[in-house]
Amino acid sequence: MSHDHSLNPEVMPQHPEKATLEGKNKFLGLWFFLGGETVLFASLFGTYLALKNSTAGGATSEELFGLELVFLMTMLLLTSSLTSVYAMYHMKNNDFKKMQLWLGITGLLGIGFLGCEIYEFYHYIHEFGFTFRSSAFGSAFYTLVGFHGGHVLFGLCWLSAIMIRNAKRGLNLYNAPKFNTFSLYWHFIDVVWVFIFTVVYLMGKVA
C-alpha cells in the first residue's frame, strides 16, 4: 500500500506497469484470467476435435479450407503480436509517441485479420452453403474460430478505447498497466490462433 504516490513521477521507473500495487494486481490478474481462457479454448478445441468429421453429408474440411488465406491471416496476427512487443518496449523507455504508433500498427493488423476472417466465413456460407446450422462440424467450426474472432474484436475495441483515452495525456503509472495488460491479452490471442491454424486448418487439410 503505497501512500500518496504521484502517478506522474519525474523519472519513470524501469517497469511502469508494475510500479504500483494496482499495476501488479492487474498484471497478475490478467495472467490468471488467461489461465481460465486457456481452459475455455481447450474445451472448444475438444468439442471441435470430437465433431470435426460429423459433416452430416455437407462440406468437409478438405473441401472448405484454403491455406493461402489462412496463411495470410496467420502472418497478419503474428506480426501484430510483434508490433505490440515494440510498443511495450517503447513504453518501458517512456516514449509515448512511439508506443502509440506501434499500438496503432498492431490495431491495423488486427483489423486486417478480422477482415480476412469475415471474408472467409462469407466465402464458406455463399460458396459451400456451409453454415453454423448445417452440421455439427459447422457448429463446432464457427464456434471455435468465431470465439477467437470475438476475442480479436474485443481486443481491438479495448485497444482503441485506451489509445484514444490516453492520447492527450501521455504515459503515467495509472495507465501503463492498462497498456501492458492489453499487450499480454493480445499475445494470448495470437497463441490461440497458432493452435487454430494447426489443429483446424492444417490438420483439416491434411487429414
Partner: protein, 616 residues
C-alpha cells in the same frame, strides 16, 4: 467519504451504500444474505420433493412439476446457495486473515456478487413461466430438446452467475499472492486462506468448461446449431464431459473451504496448533489436483470401455488418501487438546463421522463395477448429500457460528444453536442414511413416483420424516440469527480465544481493516503474540495515509444489463421485440464497462490525521 460511521443512516442511504459498496466485508454479508435466501428456497423445494415421495404413487404434484422441482433444487443449492455462502465467508474473513485492507479488485468483487445475484434471480424467474426440467446436470439431448423456456433460464442464469464466480476466483488469487501482510508467508497462512486459494485455482480452471458447455447448449436451443443434434452429426456425450470436467472440481470447490473452516475451528477450540499443518496444506493441493482428473467417474455407465473406466476408478480412489490424511490430522488436533464443545464445535465434530461415511460411499461408487449398480440411484443421492450436507452445509453452519462475531458483532445463542444442531443432525441422518439402501433396493433417482409393493415405502417414509427435522433445525438457526441481532449484546473482539489474524482486528471492524498493517511472526499469528504476552500484533509500518477504493454503482448496472440481455436471448426465438432487450441490456452492460475503463478512478485517502482522530 471517510466518515461513514458517523453518518445518520436512513434506509435509502443504507440501500445505496450496499448497492455501491466495494468493501469486502459488506460484499461478504451480501453474499450471505443472497446465498441464505436461495438456501431457504432450495430447502423448500427439497421439502416438497420429500412430500411427493412420502408414499408410493403419490399425486401431490405432477410429473412435470416434480421434474422442475428436482432441477431447481439441485441447481439452486449448488450454484446459488452453497457457492455464494462460501464466497461470502471467504470475502468476510480471508482478507482479514492475511492482513489485507481489501481484496485486489474491490470493483470486480462487487461485480462478482451482483452477477451471482442477478443470475440467481434469472433462474428463479423461470418459476413464473415454466422452470427447467432436465435435471441440474441438464444432460443433452433431453435439455437441448426440452420444450418451453425452462432450460433457457437455466443456461442464462448459470452463465451470468458463473462469470461472477470466475471473477471472484481470480480476485482471491491475486489478493492472496500480492496482498499478504509483511511476514505472512505462504506457509504461515491459516488453512481457510489456503483452501480459499486452492479453491480459487479450481474455479479458474473448472468454470470455463461449464461456460463452454452452456454456450453449446444455448446455441443449440436458441440458434439452431447442431452440437447435440444426432441427426446432424452431433454428440450428446460432449455435454457430459464438459459438464463433469467442471462438475467434479466443483465438488471440491465446495468441500475444500469447509475443510479450511473445520481446521480453524478444531485448532481454536482444542487450544492447540493444527496437527500436521504442512501435510494439511499439501493434502489440499493434492485433492485439488486429482480433482481435475476424475471427472469421468460420473460417466462409468456411459459405455467408455474398460480401460477408461479403470483409469478413472483408480484416480478417484487415490483421492481418498489425502482426504484420509486430513481426517486423521483433525483427530490428532483434538487429541491432547483442551476441548470446548459449543455450537460451532458441534457442527465440526458431527462433520467427522458424517463426512467419513460420505467418503466411504465415495470409495464404493468409485469401484466402477459396483457403480453399475449405484449409478443414478438413491445410493448416489445419499452419497453426495453426505458429502455436501455433512461436509459443506455443516461447514457453513460451523463457520457462521464461529465468525458471526466478526461479521455481525454478535455471539449466537448457544442454547438455540444446540437445539438447531441436534434437530438438523438427527434429521440429516434419518433422511439420507436409508437412501443408500433405497438405491440398492432398486430405486433410481429422479423418480417422480415409486410403485406400490416394491419394498420402498418404509424407507421413503423415514426419509421424509428426517427432512422435517432438518427443516426445524434450519428454522431454529434462523430464529437464532434474528434473536441474537435484536437481543444479543455486542460481541467482544476475540470471544473464542482464537489464534489467527482476523481476531486481532478491533471490533467493530473498521472499513479499512487495519490501521497499520500487522507484522506476522509465524503460523497462528495472534496466538504467538498472546503466548508471548503482547496480546496484539506489532505494526509493520508507521501510521500513515490509507488508500481506499471508491464505491460504484457500475457493478450493479453491468449485472443488470446482462440480466436484461438474458431475457432478450431467451425470447428472441419467439418475438423480435426481444431484440430490444438483448441489445438494450448488452448496450447498458458494455457502456458501463466502457465508463469504468475510461473514467479514472484513483480512489481516495484516509489521512493520518483522520486516523489519529478516530483513535481518540
Amino acid at each position: 467519504m471517510s466518515t461513514v460511521t458517523a453518518q445518520k443512516t436512513s434506509f435509502a442511504a443504507v440501500l445505496w451504500d450496499y448497492l455501491t459498496t466495494v468493501d469486502h466485508k459488506k460484499i461478504g454479508k451480501l453474499y450471505l444474505y443472497g446465498g441464505g435466501f436461495f438456501f431457504l428456497l432450495g430447502g423448500l423445494e427439497a421439502m416438497l420433493i420429500r412430500i411427493q415421495l412420502i408414499k408410493p404413487e403419490n399425486d401431490f404434484m405432477s410429473a412435470g412439476l416434480y421434474n422442475e422441482m428436482i432441477t431447481m433444487h439441485g441447481t439452486t443449492m449448488i450454484f446459488f446457495a452453497a457457492m455464494p455462502l462460501l464466497l461470502g465467508l471467504m470475502n468476510a474473513v480471508m482478507p482479514l486473515q492475511i492482513g489485507a485492507r481489501d481484496v485486489a479488485f474491490p470493483f470486480v468483487n462487487a461485480l462478482g456478487f451482483w452477477l451471482f445475484l442477478f443470475g440467481g434471480i434469472m433462474l428463479n424467474v423461470s418459476w413464473f413461466t415454466g422452470a427447467p426440467d432436465a435435471g441440474w446436470t441438464a444432460y443433452a439431448p433431453l435439455s437441448a430438446t426440452s420444450p418451453g423456456h425452462g432450460v433457457d433460464y437455466y443456461v442464462l442464469g448459470l452463465q451470468i452467475s458463473g462469470a461472477g464466480t470466475l471473477m471472484g476466483g481470480i480476485n482471491f488469487l491475486v489478493t492472496i499472492v500480492n496482498m499478504r501482510a509483511p511476514g505472512m508467508t505462504y506457509m504461515r497462512m491459516p488453512l481457510f486462506t489456503w483452501t480459499t486459494f486452492v479453491v480459487s485455482v479450481l474455479i479458474l480452471f473448472a468454470f470455463p468448461a461449464l461456460t463452454v458447455g452452456l454456450f453449446l447448449l444455448m446455441f443449440d436451443r436458441m440458434f439452431d446449431s447442431a452440437f447435440f443434434d444426432v441427426a446432424l452429426g452431433g454428440n450428446s456425450i460432449i455435454w457430459q464431459h464438459l459438464f463433469w470436467i467442471f462438475g467434479h472440481p466443483e465438488v471440491y470447490i465446495l468441500i475444500l473451504p469447509a475443510f479450511g473452516i473445520f481446521s480453524e475451528i478444531f485448532a481454536t477450540f482444542s487450544r492447540k496448533r493444527l496437527f500436521g499443518y504442512t501435510a494439511m496444506v499439501f493434502a489440499t493441493i493434492l485433492i485439488a489436483f486429482l480433482g481435475f482428473m476424475v471427472w469421468a467417474h460420473h460417466m462409468f455407465t456411459v459405455g467408455m470401455g474398460p480401460v477408461a473406466n479403470s483409469i478413472f476408478a483408480i484416480a478417484t480412489m487415490a483421492i481418498a488418501v489425502p482426504t484420509g490424511i486430513k481426517i486423521f490430522n483433525w483427530l490428532l488436533t483434538l487429541w491432547g487438546g483442551n476441548i470446548t464443545i459449543n455450537s460451532a464445535m458441534l457442527w465440526s465434530l458431527a462433520f467427522i463421522p458424517s463426512f467419513t461415511i460420505g467418503g466411504m460411499t465415495g470409495i464404493m461408487v468409485a469401484t466402477s463395477v459396483a457403480d453399475y449398480q449405484y449409478h443414478d440411484t438413491y445410493f448416489v443421492i445419499a452419497h453426495f448429500h453426505y458429502v455436501i450436507v455433512g461436509g459443506v452445509v455443516f461447514g457453513i453452519l460451523a463457520a457462521l457460528h464461529y465468525w458471526w462475531p466478526i461479521m455481525f458483532r454478535r455471539v449466537l445463542n448457544e442454547r438455540l444453536g444446540k437445539w438447531a444442531f441436534w434437530n438438523f443432525f438427527i434429521g440429516f441422518h434419518l433422511t439420507f442414511f436409508i437412501q443408500h439402501f433405497l438405491g440398492l433396493m432398486g430405486m433410481p433417482r429422479r423418480y417422480w413416483v415409486f410403485l406400490e409393493d416394491q419394498g420402498l415405502d418404509t424407507g421413503n417414509f423415514i426419509s421424509t420424516i428426517g427432512a422435517v427435522f432438518m427443516t426445524i433445525g434450519v428454522i431454529l438457526f434462523l430464529y437464532n440469527a434474528f434473536y441474537s441481532w435484536f437481543k444479543g449484546d455486542p460481541a467482544p473482539q476475540d470471544p473464542w480465544d482464537a489464534r489467527t489474524l482476523e481476531w486481532a482486528v478491533e471490533s467493530p471492524t473498521p472499513h479499512y481493516n487495519f490501521k497499520q498493517l500487522p507484522l506476522v511472526r509465524g503460523l497462528d499469528a495472534l496466538w504467538i503474540e498472546k503466548m508471548e504476552g503482547n496480546g496484539k500484533l506489532t505494526p509493520a509500518e508507521p501510521l500513515g495515509d490509507i488508500h481506499m477504493p471508491n464505491g460504484s454503482i457500475l457493478p450493479f448496472l453491468i449485472s443488470l444489463g446482462f440480466f436484461i440481455a438474458g431475457f432478450g436471448f431467451i425470447y428472441q426465438t419467439v418475438t423480435d421485440v426481444a431484440y430490444i432487450f438483448l441489445f438494450g441490456g448488452m448496450g447498458l452492460a458494455l457502456a458501463c464497462m466502457l465508463v469504468r475503463s475510461l473514467k479514472d478512478d484513483h480512489g481516495y485517502h484516509i489521512t493520518k490525521e483522520e486516523l489519529e482522530k478516530e483513535a481518540d
